[in-house]
Each structure stands twice: as C-alpha cells, then as structure tokens.
C-alpha cells in the first residue's frame, strides 16, 4: 500500500515541483526518494552510505523533497524524513556534499513556518554549516525559539564572519540571548569583542555578569587583570553566584597556558593574599599551583611554609603541588630538613612526596631503604609501599627483612602486600628459608605468603610448622597447608590425619588431602579406610572412586550417631550427581526428619551442578517438588528449574505463576527460560510460550522488574507467530483421545459406518482402563491402546512416562508400534538394553544406542522427532535412536503411513503419562487438492522453492513451507510471478504481523510502481492502531486508490487468512476468509477520477505480472495457486 511516505511525496509534488519539469522526470526523482525513504533507517553503514550517495546525487530536487517532508517533532509522517535529514547531516564527508546539504537546509529554513522545524534545521547546520550559513543564522539570533541553536551553529562554524556576527549582535538582544552570545565570544576567544563584553561585567543581572566575567577570563587578555581582580575582591574571594573568584582563577589558568609568567605571578600572589580563610582553600591551591609552575625555585620556600597553614588535608594537597618541584638538589635539601623536623604524622607524607618526585633507584638507596628502619611507623609503611611500587625483585631481601622486624598487624599486612608485589619464584625460597628462625607473628605472615603464592615446592617447610609449639603458628601452617599440597604429599598428609585428634586440624588436613588428590590417591585412601572411617569420610566426596558412595551410604545408615553425621556431611558435599538419589531417599524417609531440609537443598544444588542432560535435571527437580514443604524450598526448586533451558521446564514453572507466594520467582524463572540468553542462546517460541509470557508480565516484582518487562515486551513483539509445541492432553480429561480400532490397514478397509460403530465400542472400553488423575493419563488392568483422535504426519513430540515393576508400554507413531518402554529388569525379554528403541524394526536397528532409563517408579522424558519415515528419540535427554527408519509392522512390504494417530500402548501393566506436547512440522510439500486440480488450477508455490517466481529473492525467502518477507536486507521488496496473467483466479493464504503492510500487484509491469503502473490489491493489518485513520480505499482488499473494500474480515494477527482474487477484464472480486469484501469494475469505478485523485495508468492495462509488493513489514504467504481464465 502507499501510505505515509509515498502519499506524502505525491502530495508535496503536486504543490511544489515546478511544472517545467516533464512528468517523466518528476516521477523518477520522486520514486527514487520514495525508495530511499522506504529503506530508512538504513540497516547498516554500507546501506546508509549507498542511500546517502543515491540521494545526494539526485541534486537539489531530491534534497528538496526530503527537507519538505520534515514535520514538527511527534508527527509520525515526518519520521522517515528526519531519518533522511539525519543521514545527510551525519554521513556527508566531503566539502562538496556538505555544501549541497547546507544549501538545502538553508532553503528549507527559509521555507518552513514551524518554529521547531526551523530550530531543527539550524541544529543540523552545526555539523554541516560553513561560512555560507552565517548570514542566514544571523537572522535567528533575535528569535526566541531558535537563538540558542543559531548561536551554537555559529560557534561550530567558527569562521571570522561568524565571530564577528556574534560580536555585532550583542547589543539590543534579550538578556538570555546576550548571555548566550557572551558565552560564544568566550568559547571562540574572539578578542575584538573584549571591550564589548567587559561592559557586562558590571551588569546587575547575575547571569550576564557571571557569563561575561567567565568569557573575559577565557579571552585571556592582559588588560583584563585589574577588572577581574576587582570583581573577585568585591566578593572577598569567596564562592558567590557571579563566580567572580572562579573567573579570576580561570584567567590565571589561561595566563599559565599562554606563558605570561609575570602576570601569573602577580595573579597568584593576589589570590594568596586574599584567601586566608579555610573555605578558600581550593582557590588558594589553584594560586599555589600556578606559582609553582611558573617559578618552581622561588615557590619552594613558600610551599614549605604554606604546608601547615590549614588542616591535614590541605597539607597533603600542598605536598602534591610540591612534587613537581621537589626533584632538584636544592629542593631535596630543603624538604629533607623539613622532613626531619616535621611532626611524626607528617613525615610519611613528605617522604611519599619526595619518592614521587624522585622515582629512581638512587632515592630508594638513599631514603627509602633506610626509612624501612625508621622509628616512625607511618614512615616505614610509606617506605615499604613506595619500594613495592618499583616492582623490582631486588628489593625482596629488604622488604623481607622489614617484614621480619615488623611486629604490629598493620605493618605485617603492608609488608606482606609489598612482598607479594615484588615477588617472583626466588621470593618463595627466601621466604621459606626465613620461616624457621622467625618470630611467631612473622612466621605466620611468611606462611601466609607461601600459601598466597601456592608454593607447593615448600610443602615440607609448611608441614613442619604444623608441629610448632606456638598455637598461632600451628594454626597458620594448617591454614596454609591446602594451598601448598600436591599429589606427592598425599601419604604424608594421610599419616598426619591418622595421628590427629583435634577436629579443626583434621579439617585442615582433609582440605589439604582434597586439594592434593590425584589418580594415585584412591588406593591410598581405600587402604586406610577401614580403620579411619570417620576421618576419611569427609574426603570421599572428592575422590574419584566408584566405591566411595557405597561406603558413605553404609556409614550413614549403619554407623553410630557421630559417624552418621559425618557421612551426611559427605553426602551433602558430593561432587557429582551420584548421591542425588540417596539424598532423595533421605528426604522421603519419615524417620530421618532432622536431615530433611539439608537433604533437599543439597539435592537441588547437586542436581543443578550435575552433568545430567537438561531433561534429566528437570525430572529430578520435579521429583522433589511434591516433597517441598514451604515457600523457601519451593522457590529454590523453581529457581533451579529457571536454569534448565527446556520447553518442559517453562511449562513446569508456569504452574506456579498464580501462586501468590511463588509467582515472582516463577515469573523470573519463566522469563529466563523463554527469552534469549545473554550468551546468545535463542529464546523459546510458540503459542504456549507466548501465552505464558503474556500471562506473567505483571507478576514480576523487584528492582529490575521494569527493565525485565521491557525485555519481555520486546521479545513478544519480535516473536514469530509459529505454533510450536501444543499440548495434546489437557490434564483434566481425555478429550482429543479415543480407543483403538484394530490397525490402520484394517481400518482403511472398513466402511465409514463399520468404523464408526467399532470406534464407539472401543471408546466405551477406554473408560475401563484409562483415566485422568492429578494431571496424568493413567492406565490400569487389561485393555487396548489410547489413540489421538486426529492423525499426525511429521512432528516433534515430548511425553513423560512412568511404569511400574515389570512394566511394558510404548508410543506408537503413525499408528505403528513402537518406541519401546519397558522395565529393564526384565532381562528374560531383553529389556536390559533400555527403553526408546524401535522395538519392531527388523531391518533397521531396534535397540536403543544406550541405556538411559530412570529407575522404575521415577518419571522419564521422551523427545521423539519423526520426519518422513525416520525417527529420532532422546530418552531423558540422551540420544537413543538416531534418525532410524520406522518399519511398517502391519505390512512389512509397505513404507510407513504418511499420517496416522499417535498411540499410548497398553500392555497389561500400570502406566502413567503426562506433559504430552506435539509440534507439527509442515515439512510436506504443498499439493493442489483433487478438486482444484480438476478445475484447472496451477500450483505457483510448492512450499519449497521460488521456481515460479522472479524479482527480489533476497528479501523473500522460503521458510516453514511459506514465503516470508524480511525487509531488513537490501532490495525493494517485490516478488512477481514468472508469467503474465490477464484473467485469473488467484488463491493464497497470508499471515500478518502487527501493523504489517504489503500488497498484491496485478496486471503489473516489472518496472515502475506496481500500484500505479498496474493495480494493487491492498494487504494490510488495518486493525492496527497506527491505521486508525485510513481512507476507505486503503483498507485491506481494496484496489488501492480505486475501489474500497469492506473492513472487518481479517483473522487476528498471527493467524492464516485465505483469500481469492478473481479478475476478468475490468471486473474484480476479492473474497477474504469466505466473505466477498470487494466486487466491482475498476474502469467504471475510476470513470470520474480515482478516489485518491492520482493518476493510475495501470487501469488501462489488462495483463501483466502478479506480485507481492513489500512495504517494509514481515508478512508470510503460502498455498499459492492460480487458474488462468484466459486459456
């Protein structure tokens, strides 16, 4: 359709394009601009550059069309034009381009009557304006709506003319404009205006005064000094609204930059003389800094005295200033003297200042190393941290020595930190060497260093200290032990453990054993285990040994109370998923209540950390959910499920969306599951997903919920309208299911009546054995299979199943046995291979690839995919059947049926099924119905390729058996039939997205605008709010601009619509979803002019191509067929 962009241009053309141009030329420029606008905003830089080049080469006519389209902010029609202007402004790089654009903007500025639009063009001149704009901008300095933008643009242009314009404009303006102009003079440093702005420094208006003082300061003319000084004096060098003191400081800064040293000295001294109050410290510091910069020698003495003027912080700031001049020999001497006599607290600051000023090894030798032995603690600390900043290992001995001499905690911490900064491999050795002889506190610090550096080479040194007489040393040694232990230390550690009775130290040794575990450890541990159970139990969760769990379980159930406690701890710490079912059993055991809570949390965390596939993780979380007692437990399970990214997990957490206590956690989990992840995993799609996301939108709470809502809405907006998984079991009754009547071959031979009768009998029997309980389909006793009432062809399926002891069942696909389900204990029939296999296959594999069954009584999840005759099965997330042909059991000479029911097999044992979802895959090629074939229809699109089509095959792609247009790529969006048609019946289905816009061109040529050169039958989501004010001839189905259609027969967005377009000569009839929405004669309808008052040369064409005319939105088409009536 031709709405916003193009209608607008037509309208403009009527008014503005000079009549001198030939009609042909007008169309060309207009069309090109329209094409460009339709592609904006450009998808990428290359496209943007290409469009920019196209537009700029259209010359002033093209630019005029664009600037004329700009509307005041907030007018929707103007948006593409603002994108075009932005493109011109930002993408122009050469002088020539900028000149063209500048001219266009100046012209637009002249023409526009809207203040906001004018300001907008002026604003754009900031980037592309040149001296040429100055004369025009001058006129806006007096305009209250755009003076600010105009002056900003003049500053950006920055030529002599613009400077002069600014200066000349200064008198006779409103005060706000004057402030802005004075600011501009300062920014441009336009000296000729100095006198003029100086007069404002004595103005009563604070804003004018402040701005002029500031600009005078920026102009940095020596003659301004007295005036600025006087103003600062007037406010006693304080902070005040005129900021006179700040202006003087800025003036000083400018003079420093200019190098006017004499004046800098003078100003600085004036500042120093007048800022004796503590509240003026910062001005004073500025003065000192400037002075120190221009005359470092002379300032030295001042700084020494100045240091102690105010408070402690000021002292430090003065020292920072002194740093710049403290590198000379003279300075060194002076400051060293000061250092000696300074208060203890200040010495360290002076030392640091000198260290910064003299960053060389000579200074380290002369000052810093000796300072490590100072009596003054802050000095020692400063020296150590300054030495460390050299990051040179040659200072290791000195720092180590310092550490050995240190006694208090601060210094030890600092010495440690300093050593860790200069450390290398040799440091570890030096440290280890000193441990033996060090005092206990220092020993502790050294042990900590070895631990921090994981010095496994010095295990022996650390181990030896575990026997120290000093308890703090022992503690530190034990603490360090895990960090320095390696596999070779295992037997020593075990010996230590055997001999150790204290619990804390046992823990440390156990931790060390754990950190030293390697492939040789298990035998060593097993050897000792019988005699040292309680001591070794804590280690077992970390040992890679198949028998370890058994030992722990035995201790838990059969050991004494203390052994049981230790064993339970071990179960909680288990490092893989092996212990999860033990924890579950504990949780279920009523006599073990005291362990219940911890068992549940350990169960959840071990399940989360396990290497199980997601399906299995979810099964385990679902297994424990009924046992959860309170909100905390349930919330933890829901959160864990939020990390298991499967469709079933989403369905699981969505059960709790309406539970007041759990809804927020469930919503967050659902969001996490459904939306794309930050590491690029795609989001979930389909109707169920959409329903859940829409349902939970208002259930999120907490700080980030407003952002999360934006995320969800954005995702929903872009979510494709695919069906996805649909539940084929409603959880309440067996609707959608029926009894089994023999087999597909036998059924096909029955008459309708016989089949109906047998079906009724079979359905009656279903009630005897099949029932629905707690959201499950349950089978008990003897009976036949349960079948879906409708057939399925290609699909993906998810189903959870559970069997009892000796259980036997299966899933029939297309009415055919079967994906096997059985109790693996039934080795007599070969069930040890596991479930999931295509049991009745004779040629292809019939057994699963691996055994992946959960124990009988637990749930299992099947994912089954069937495409054509091939089946893939995952059991509990593990691939068990890999793309194997399902053989036809009922007649082995036939291939598998194309479509048949899915059946749940009954085989005499108790069964349960839940979560039955099917996603149908439209992978079958589309075929004409028998009826249409007979009527002479031709298939234009087979669901697979675009063979019968020409035109834009980049934006139009085949997807899910449909033609989809994604206008994000290059191209202009038309796809035509390969043949031309005159009279025809054209049938197709289409699916719209929100606000989508497309069109069906008929009788169209391949060149030019099909809506006018041919005819366009509108395709549009005319229910969208943006189209509330459509003209009647723009409704869906209308012959665009010519005959209006009836509105109100489109299906909701996302559903497929059926449409037929019948054309014979000038007669046209459009039928949408069974209702005729348009019927008429196109020639007659336009006899007295078209409804849109535009020229439609296409009305005179009675033959041409049929095509989809893309207008920038996502639309899908399928089932496209045609009957050529001209034949």
């Amino acid at each position: 359709m031709r709405l916003n962009k193009i209608t607008h241009i037509f309208f403009l053309l009527l008014i503005f394009v000079p009549l001198l141009l030939s009609a042909q030329d007008q169309r060309l420029v207009k069309t090109k601009v329209a094409d460009a606008l339709a592609l904006l905003p450009a998808a990428d830089n290359q496209q943007a550059t290409r469009i920019f080049k196209e537009v700029i080469n259209l010359g002033s006519d093209g630019l005029l069309l664009i600037t004329d389209g700009v509307q005041p902010n907030g007018v929707v029609e103007g948006i593409p034009f603002r994108y075009a202007v932005s493109l011109l402004t930002h993408y122009s790089t050469t002088k020539e381009e900028k000149a063209k654009i500048e001219h266009a903007y100046l012209a637009a500025l002249k023409k526009s009557t809207n203040a906001e639009v004018k300001a907008y063009f002026i604003d754009n001149l900031k980037l592309v304006g040149s001296n040429e704009s100055v004369a025009v901008l001058k006129n806006y300095i007096g305009d209250k709506d755009s003076y600010d933008q105009a002056i900003s643009a003049l500053v950006a242009i920055g030529t002599e003319d613009s400077k002069k314009t600014i200066a000349d404009a200064l008198p006779n303006q409103s005060a706000p404009a004057q402030v802005r102009l004075i600011k501009a003079v300062g920014e441009l440093k336009y000296l000729p205006a100095l006198a003029s702005i100086t007069t404002f420094t004595s103005n009563n208006n604070t804003l004018l005064k402040r701005q002029s003082l500031w600009s005078v300061a920026l102009l940095a003319d020596a003659s301004s000094y007295q005036a600025l000084l006087q103003q600062a004096k007037n406010v006693e060098f304080k902070n005040d609204p005129t900021e006179a003191t700040t202006a003087l400081v800025e003036y000083l800064h400018q003079m420093t930059t200019k190098g006017n040293n004499a004046l800098v000295k003078e100003i600085s001294k004036a500042i120093l003389d007048n800022t004796l109050n503590t509240s003026q410290q910062h001005f004073r510091l500025a003065g000192l800094k400037a002075l120190a910069l221009v005359d470092p020698e002379a300032t030295l003495a001042i700084l020494v005295k100045e240091r102690i003027r105010f408070d402690d912080e000021y002292k430090k700031e003065v020292l920072k200033i002194a740093t710049a001049s403290a590198g000379s020999a003279k300075a060194m001497k002076l400051w060293q003297k000061e250092y000696k006599k300074a208060a203890e607290a200040d010495q360290a600051d002076i030392l640091r200042m000198l260290a910064k000023a003299n960053h060389d090894e000579g200074f380290v030798e002369a000052m810093l190393l000796p300072a490590l032995s100072s009596k003054n603690k802050p000095v020692r600390i400063t020296a150590a941290s300054e030495i460390a900043s050299y990051r040179n290992k040659k200072y290791t001995p000195a720092l180590l020595d310092y550490l050995l001499r240190s006694t208090d905690a601060d210094e030890l911490a600092l010495a440690q930190s300093a050593l860790l900064q200069v450390a290398d491999k040799e440091t570890d050795g030096l440290v280890a060497q000193k441990i033996e002889s060090a005092q206990s506190k220092n020993k502790t610090a050294l042990l900590e260093i070895l631990a921090a550096r994981r010095s496994v080479n010095y295990f022996d040194v650390v181990a030896k200290q575990t026997t120290s007489n000093d308890s703090t040393v022992r503690k530190a040694a034990y603490h360090a032990l895990p960090n320095v232990s390696a596999g070779s230390n295992e037997s020593i550690l075990l010996k230590m453990l055997v001999g150790m009775e204290s619990r804390n130290e046992q823990r440390a040794i156990q931790a060390a054993i754990i950190s030293a575990l390697d492939k040789n450890s298990a035998p060593l541990i097993n050897e000792l285990y019988a005699s040292q159970k309680v001591k070794l139990l804590p280690v077992l969760p970390y040992v890679n040994d198949s028998a370890a769990l058994e030992k722990v379980v035995s201790s838990f159930y059969h050991g004494n109370e203390s052994e049981r406690e230790v064993a339970f701890e071990a179960l909680k710490n288990w490092q893989n998923q092996e212990a999860v079912r033990t924890l579950l059993a504990i949780r279920k055991n009523e006599s073990l209540k005291k362990y219940h809570e911890q068992a549940l949390y350990a169960f959840i965390s071990q399940t989360e950390k396990s290497s199980w596939p997601d399906d299995q993780k979810l099964l385990m979380l679902r297994e424990i959910m009924p046992l959860a007692l309170n909100k905390n437990e349930k919330t933890t399970i829901i959160r864990a499920a939020g990390n298991v990214r499967t469709f079933l997990s989403l369905m699981f957490v969505s059960n709790y969306l309406d539970d007041a206590g759990l809804s927020s956690a469930a919503s967050r989990a659902a969001m996490q599951l459904a939306l794309p992840t930050s590491d690029a995993k795609p989001g979930l799609t389909g109707i169920e997903v959409r329903k859940i996301l829409e349902h939970m939108l208002d259930k999120l709470t907490g700080e980030d919920s407003q952002y999360e809502r934006i995320d969800i809405l954005t995702y929903l907006q872009n979510l494709p309208y695919t069906k996805g998984y649909e539940s084929i079991f409603n959880g309440k009754d067996l609707s959608g299911w029926q009894g089994l009547v023999e087999n597909p071959i036998a059924r096909a031979k029955m008459t309708k009546e016989v089949l109906a009768k047998k079906q009724a009998e079979a359905n009656a029997k279903v009630k005897d054995n099949w029932s629905v309980k707690d959201g499950m389909i349950v089978f008990q006793g003897e009976g036949a299979n349960l079948c879906t009432t409708r057939p399925y062809g290609d699909f993906e399926m998810i189903v959870d199943w559970k069997i009892s002891k000796n259980g036997d069942s299966g899933i029939y696909l297309r009415g055919t046995p079967q994906v096997q389900i059985w109790d693996i204990a039934r080795t007599d029939v070969g069930a040890q291979v596991g479930s999931g296999g295509l049991y009745n296959n004779q040629k292809g594999r019939s057994t699963p690839l691996v055994l992946a069954d959960n124990p009988v009584g637990e749930w299992n999840t099947f994912y089954i995919k069937m495409i054509g005759d091939r089946v893939t099965v995952y059991l509990n997330g593990v691939l068990v059947v890999d793309n194997v042909v399902l053989e036809n059991y009922w007649d082995r000479n036939l291939p598998i049926f194309i479509e048949e029911a899915i059946e749940l097999q009954a085989h005499g044992t108790d069964l349960a099924f839940r979560n039955i979802y099917v996603k149908e895959l439209g992978t079958k090629p589309y075929e004409l119905s028998k009826e249409e074939k007979e009527q002479g229809f031709d298939l234009l699109f087979n669901g697979k390729d675009l063979n019968n089509w020409i035109g834009n095959k980049i934006d139009y792609v085949v997807e899910d058996n449909a033609i989809a247009i994604y206008p994000t790529k290059e191209g202009h969006g038309n796809l035509f039939t390969a043949k031309e048609y005159a009279d025809f019946i054209f049938r197709f289905e289409f699916q719209l997205t929100e606000g989508a816009n497309n069109g069906l061109g008929i009788h169209a040529p391949l060149e030019g605008d099909a809506a006018y050169e041919g005819k366009e039958i509108q395709i549009l989501d005319n229910e969208a709010p943006v189209y509330a004010k459509l003209e009647v001839y723009q409704y869906h189905g209308s012959v665009y601009g010519v005959i209006p259609a009836k509105r109100g027969f489109l299906k909701p967005v996302g559903e497929w619509n059926q449409e037929e377009v019948y054309v014979k000569g000038n007669y046209i009839k459009v039928t949408l979803n069974g209702t005729i929405i348009l019927e008429g004669d196109m020639k007659k309808a336009s006899k007295n002019g078209t409804l849109d008052h535009k020229d439609h040369p296409g009305l005179n064409r009675n033959s041409g191509y049929i095509g989809f005319l893309g207008h920038g939105s996502v639309v899908k088409f399928k089932s496209i067929r045609i009957k050529d009536l001209s034949k």
Binding site: E313, I321, D428
Partner: protein, 428 residues
C-alpha cells in the same frame, strides 16, 4: 529559585571540625582506614558529609555508604525529592537547585547521580566550590566535558571518584572473579601481546538494548512537580514527553547513549585497567550499526576499538561469535567463567606478583588526598572510549583518533561532536 530546606543544623564547616580533630586522628592519619580496623571502623563524628544531586533512581541507592553521612539532597522533581528525603529518615535538607546546594559550607562531598548530560557541569562547579566529587557513570556525555573535569579537579585540588568499581572490587560479570587475577595474568605476559578483549553476551555482558528512544514523541504538558527546564539544563530544548526523562532518558543522545552509555564504562573501564591503558585512548573506532536517529538512540551490532599497539576492545552487540574468548592473545585465551586454554591457569596466577593496591574507599581518599582507584584521569579515558563509540555510531563510519591531542583525525564532523554546545547560561 525557591528554597526547600529546613534550617536547623548549624553549618559548622566540616573542615574546621576535621582540623580540630586532626590531633586525635594523630599518627594514623595516613594509614588507610581499612588497615586500621576494617570497614565500619569509624565514629559517626568522623564521617564525611555528603549531598546527593539527583535522587530519582541511581541516587537513592547511595544514601547509605561507608564513611559518609548524607546532609542534603537535590532534585528537580519535587516528588522524587520528597520520597528520597523520607527514605533517608527525614533529617536531610532538600534543594531544587544544585547551585544553592554547592554554596553550603558543611558539605564535603557532592554525589552526582543525575543523567549524564549534567555530570560534567556539576563536577566542575563542585570543584569550583571546593567540594570533592562522587560521580555516577558514564563520567561525561562528551569528550570535551571530560577534559574539563580533569582540568578542574587538578586546578582546585579536588578528589574525584567515578562510581563504577570493577577495576578494584566485586566479581566482574562473566568472569566470575575480580579483575585482579586478570590484571596479574595480563601483566605477566603469559598471554602474549597484543590482546583482543571481546565484551559480549557470550563473555557474560548484557548490552541492554532496551535503552532505545522513541522517534514519535508527542509534545506533552510538563507535570507540575518537575522543573523541566532545569532537568534539561545544558541539553537543547525539546518539547516535554515523559519518555525523555526519568527512567527512560538513556534512549536519547541529548542525555546519554543507550546501553552503551549505561553499561559501556562499567564494562570497558576494567579493560583499560588490565590492559594498562589508563593514560591513553584507542587510535581508531570501527562501527557496524543500523543508521541512528538524531534524537533517539538505536541499537548497534559491533563496535571495535584499536590501540596503537594493536590491542583491541570489541563490543559485540549481536553475540556473533558463540565461542569467543573474553581475552585473546597470541599465546593464550581466557573465556567466560575464567576458563582458559592455559592449563591450571588459576594456580598459575596465584604464583604471579600482585598488582599495586588501589584506593578503594572514597572517604580514605578524601582524607589522605590520594587519588581514588577510579578517578577523573582514568575515568576520563574510559569514558572517552564510550564517547568515541557514540560519535562513530551517530556518524556511521570508522574514525581515527589522536589519543594525545584527544581529537579525531581528518573528520571535522566528528570533531564538532567532541564539544557539544550547551544551552542558555550553562557552561563548563
């Protein structure tokens, strides 16, 4: 301007107080407080006093902070101000004009939690008033403003902290560790040189592309509680629409730069730190993005920064490379969750020397006058990267940059965006 304060406190200068108590602090004055007794070791009378400007969103989270006591708050939205004062327990003075707040002698530190188009001006004015500054990220909206903040802090001897913190604490997004081990391994040279750092969803970073603006904002009446003219301040006048202000302002170039503005400095600053680039900037920026609207910020696909020595920072908005390492050097890679192709990398790192400790408590920095770990100098450099990216997005082209002159090479339009004009009387 209307005052909104309740005058009950005697405005004794904090610095006077500190001067008097300097003796009591005595010999320990230079020792960082955390060495003395850990965080929390501070008498109430020893706390720095603070004022917060902008208490709508970010500012409210910072009422409680180690070593500081909030005396005053300022906001241009009366409702925000009222709510925040109530949240702080009521005993706080309220201002609607920050300039008035800056004249209060009893405030040591000004905390700037406004939208970014105010950060530069307020930082400079606070320095000119003799206050130390705590400023939210991104540091400034333009490169030019950043330069000025650096200059003003130096001129007036003020302390500045930029409020992002990953260069010195907390686990750093997808890495699952602090930046310290990254710094150690990069410093050690184990990975080789130059390094390529990729910041994407794959490596654990979220570019928050919901911070996009709308292109069809209709003018609407300004609500009575809001001083819209003051909210806009230096930004050019545009008709009011609620989407411009408060929680959605990041979607507009006039005030910020979308997800890049919001998260860019958060993510990039630690990279500057561990690459050792705190004194320099990249020499080139390349962008891949859809064309941007000139008012509303849009999304982008990729922004790539290159340093003179060949190091690169890649912002991958599309999470294009599903297996990309966070840091990649010629001799080794570090992936999300600190996984690496270097065996036992965490143990190896433990044996490497530590980086220089950083000043991590702002009140310590104010007291000792030692620069805070993330200050105006390194903060300016990491903000410059964000601002280079924003300019390249708006211009849709690659740009060359001179890190010494801090201007673009041969691109006049880009250079016109370094200093953006300020409306009315606002200057920096």
């Amino acid at each position: 301007m209307k005052k909104e304060k309740n005058i009950n406190a005697t405005h004794q200068s904090r610095r006077d107080f500190i001067k008097k108590s300097a003796l009591a602090i005595g010999a320990f004055a230079i020792v960082p407080r955390h060495v003395l007794g850990g965080p929390g070791f501070m008498a109430p009378s020893d706390m720095l006093t603070k004022a917060i400007i902008g208490v709508g969103g970010m500012g409210r989270g910072h009422i409680e902070y180690e070593g500081t006591k909030v005396l005053a708050m300022c906001d241009v939205d009366k409702n925000h101000l009222k709510d925040a004062i109530a949240l702080a327990g009521g005993n706080v003075r309220g201002y609607s004009d920050f300039r008035e707040l800056l004249t209060q002698p009893d405030i040591d530190v000004v905390h700037i939690a406004t939208p970014p188009h105010w950060h530069g001006i307020m930082s400079v004015m606070a320095a000119q008033a003799g206050k130390d500054v705590w400023c939210e990220k991104p540091m400034t909206k333009t490169i030019g403003e950043g330069k000025r903040v650096v200059e003003a802090m130096e001129q007036y001897g003020r302390m500045f902290r930029l409020n992002t913190w990953f260069r010195f604490k907390d686990n750093f997004y997808g890495m699952g560790t602090t930046v310290k081990p990254l710094k150690k391994v990069v410093d050690s040279g184990i990975l080789g040189w130059p390094l390529k750092v990729t910041i994407s969803g794959v490596t654990g970073f979220n570019w928050k592309f919901y911070w996009v603006g709308k292109t069809d904002l209709k003018p609407m009446p300004v609500p009575p509680e809001l001083d819209y003219d003051m909210w806009l301040g230096p930004a050019q006048y545009k008709p009011y629409n609620p989407h411009r202000v408060h929680s959605t302002f990041r979607g507009y170039w006039d005030y910020d730069g979308g997800g890049l503005g919001d998260m860019g400095q958060h993510y990039i600053d630690p990279v500057q730190y561990f690459l050792g680039k705190d004194n320099t900037s990249p020499i080139r920026v390349d962008v891949d993005c859809p064309q941007q609207h000139d008012d509303a910020v849009g999304t982008w696909r990729r922004i790539e920064f290159t340093y003179a020595d060949g190091c690169k920072i890649i912002l991958d908005g599309e999470n294009k490379d599903a297996n990309v390492p966070y840091i990649e050097g010629p001799n080794g890679k570090i992936f999300r969750g600190f996984k690496s192709d270097i065996p036992n990398i965490l143990k190896v790192i433990d044996t490497l020397p530590d980086p220089e400790p950083q000043m991590t408590v702002f009140s310590d920095s104010v007291r000792s006058r030692k620069k805070f770990g993330l200050n105006e100098l390194n903060g300016f450099r990491s903000a410059t990267i964000v601002n280079m990216g924003k300019i390249a997005l708006q211009l849709g082209r690659s740009l060359d940059f001179d890190p010494v002159k801090q201007e673009f090479i041969n691109d006049e339009a880009a250079n016109r965006l370094i200093n953006q004009p300020m409306r009315g009387p606002w200057k920096i």
